[in-house]
């Protein structure tokens, strides 16, 4: 079953074609990695799917329903959540409060007198933080965290919305190399258990080949290749253009 379907998405900023005819079907339950050089339009794609940017042409369908034109807030209600390349946290709140606010957003925001940190939400926030191994910093203010912790908190907030589809923009950038694999393992376990479909932008090919079901290669606003990591990551053109490795076969092809 196709959960998300993009057809002919186009969006240019001035002369820069950030999306130049994107066609992509995301299958229900899969982990789809997006790779490609900086400026290829990966973030722009996520921005279009989450309602932050409106494509100049093309359509997006989610669960059979057209998405283009809906505000981010509406898309969250439909089950689409995202995390950010640069973490977007509520800086004056603690880590636990950041996550609890996401839970409240899902379950009942409009109560002026019941506390945000009421027991049920507090417990759920603690639970999510434990899954991300963030329990130790639950009471720290978000503006005191290091890059890796901010990144994880940012993702935890998206997960707390209990989405069906999550889009993560470079979830492991800023995370220390030594922790990368274990963090992604955790993340994948959490998302798989909840049956969440994931689209994530990733630069680490090791992470991609281990955890992605399919890989989409972005290049100048287009999808240059799409398929299982085993096939895509050995494609000489991809190796040369995206990863910057010259191979014998690559030379021959060029």
């Amino acid at each position: 079953m196709i959960l998300l379907s993009a057809k002919g998405l186009k969006l240019a900023f001035g002369g820069v074609k950030a999306a130049d005819g994107i066609d992509l079907d995301v299958r229900n339950g899969e982990f789809l990695a997006i790779i490609g050089p900086n400026g290829a339009g990966k973030t722009t794609f996520i921005n279009m799917v989450t309602g932050y940017l409106t494509p100049q042409a093309g359509e997006i369908h989610y669960d059979g329903q057209p998405l283009v034109g809906l505000a981010p807030r509406r898309l969250v209600r439909l089950g689409i959540a995202r995390s950010f390349q640069l973490p977007q946290l509520f800086l004056e709140h603690t880590v636990a409060e950041n996550v609890a606010l996401a839970i409240a957003a899902r379950e009942g925001l409009w109560s002026p007198i019941r506390p945000l940190m009421r027991s049920a939400w507090r417990a759920e926030a603690d639970d999510i933080l434990a899954q991300f191994d963030l329990s130790d910093i639950a009471e720290r203010r978000a503006d005191t965290l290091n890059e890796g912790a901010r990144k994880l908190t940012d993702i935890a907030m998206a997960v707390a919305l209990k989405p069906r589809l999550i889009l993560m923009d470079e979830p492991t950038s800023g995370v220390a190399a030594s922790e990368k694999i274990s963090i992604v393992e955790t993340l994948v376990r959490v998302l798989r258990t909840a049956g969440v479909t994931a689209v994530f932008v990733e630069h680490d090919m090791d992470v991609v080949s281990r955890f992605a079901d399919r890989v989409a290669v972005w290049s100048q606003g287009k999808i240059a290749a799409l398929g299982p990591p085993g096939a895509v990551l050995t494609d000489p053109n991809v190796l040369r253009d995206v990863i910057g490795i010259e191979t014998e076969a690559g030379h021959a092809a060029a």
């Binding site: 989450t50 932050y52 505000a71 981010p72 807030r73 969250v76 209600r77 959540a81 995202r82 950010f84 977007q88 946290l89 509520f90 800086l91 004056e92 709140h93 409060e97 609890a100 606010l101 996401a102 409240a104 957003a105 899902r106 009942g108 925001l109 409009w110 109560s111 002026p112 007198i113 019941r114 506390p115 945000l116 940190m117 907030m157 919305l161």
Partner: protein
């Protein structure tokens, strides 16, 4: 601070206000006005949590005061006039809020200022209706159906002001800890993220705005009932500035701040005006400067720091 400590402090503060009003009768009026302004400042505090400063909240205070002045002849009962005036202020707050909640920072502040000045000039210019700068006298009103002596009435209004202060103080304290209050301060640091969590930022701000107009309305009604005379000066931009000044003086860190600030402000003004009439504005300016530079937590923050240091010593 714990709920218990807040409760004890509230009772002590109320007892202090009542004792002072009993010992120095003419301060009863000063303190009623101070608490009334404190209610409006509590609304300023809410908006400050969202990072927004309204330089026009005297609009709601004066609007409610004029509602009392206009309606007192027809409904000469405090316990009906006050809610009526507050509801009118909140309704106009909703209308204005739908518009101003689209704007942030300087635009938010200036739009509020502009709208309050429009109201001011209406009060000033439509002499037939509002009697312009002369203002309107508020006729005698009953309290809970009883016509009280002026002395009794001033006690009744002071106690009503205290009850409202405690009630709204407790409510705002809960509000700030609720998801709505939490989203309010989230709006200050990362408004865009709220939308990506399904939280309508504008409506969060609008809710706080309407609440702030409602509280300012209660304050304005109390002022009209206590002074028994309303003039356009209530709506003038300096009156709005005064509310922001009190918010900063008292400190935005706690619901006690606005009332502490308002009491300190009114008492200082009363005595300073008597002792050094010409220097009053200068004193104000200096105090504001000192608070901003050295005690951004305001009087409340200073008091807290002293208590904490006392405990450690």
């Amino acid at each position: 601070m714990s709920r218990y400590a807040d409760l004890v402090l509230t009772l002590l503060a109320a007892a202090f206000v009542l004792a002072l009003s009993w010992a120095v009768p003419w301060l009863r009026f000063v303190m009623t006005i101070a608490i009334a302004k404190g209610l409006a400042v509590l609304g300023i505090l809410l908006l400050l949590r969202a990072g927004q400063v309204s330089f026009g909240h005297a609009l709601y205070l004066s609007l409610a005061a004029y509602v009392v002045a206009f309606m007192a002849a027809r409904i000469p009962e405090v316990l009906l006039l006050l809610p009526l005036a507050a509801v009118v202020a909140a309704s106009i707050g909703l209308l204005v809020g739908l518009f101003v909640s689209r704007y942030r920072a300087i635009f938010f502040g200036m739009l509020n200022l502009a709208l309050s000045m429009v109201f001011y000039s209406m009060l000033d210019k439509f002499y037939e209706v509002t009697r312009g700068g002369d203002g309107i006298r508020v006729p005698v009103t009953s309290f809970a159906g009883v016509v009280l002596s002026p002395d009794q009435q001033s006690w009744a209004l002071l106690i009503l002001a205290l009850v409202l202060a405690v009630g709204f103080g407790a409510f705002v304290r809960l509000y700030l800890l609720s998801p709505m209050g939490s989203a309010l301060s989230a709006l200050k640091t990362r408004e865009a993220r709220l939308e990506f969590m399904g939280i309508p930022a504008r409506r969060i701000l609008l809710s706080a705005y309407v609440l702030s107009a409602f509280m300012a309305g209660c304050g304005g009604a109390l002022i009209a009932l206590s002074t028994r005379h309303v003039t356009p000066a209530l709506a003038y931009w300096t009156a709005s500035g005064e509310l922001v000044f009190i918010a900063i003086l008292g400190g935005a860190g706690s619901v006690f701040g606005p009332f502490l600030g308002a009491l300190a402000y009114e008492l200082t003004r009363t005595y300073a005006a008597a002792l050094v009439a010409d220097a009053w504005q200068m004193i104000l300016g200096t105090v504001l400067l000192v608070v901003i530079l050295f005690a951004p937590g305001g009087l409340w923050g200073i008091g807290r720091a002293l208590v904490v240091r006392g405990r450690q010593a």
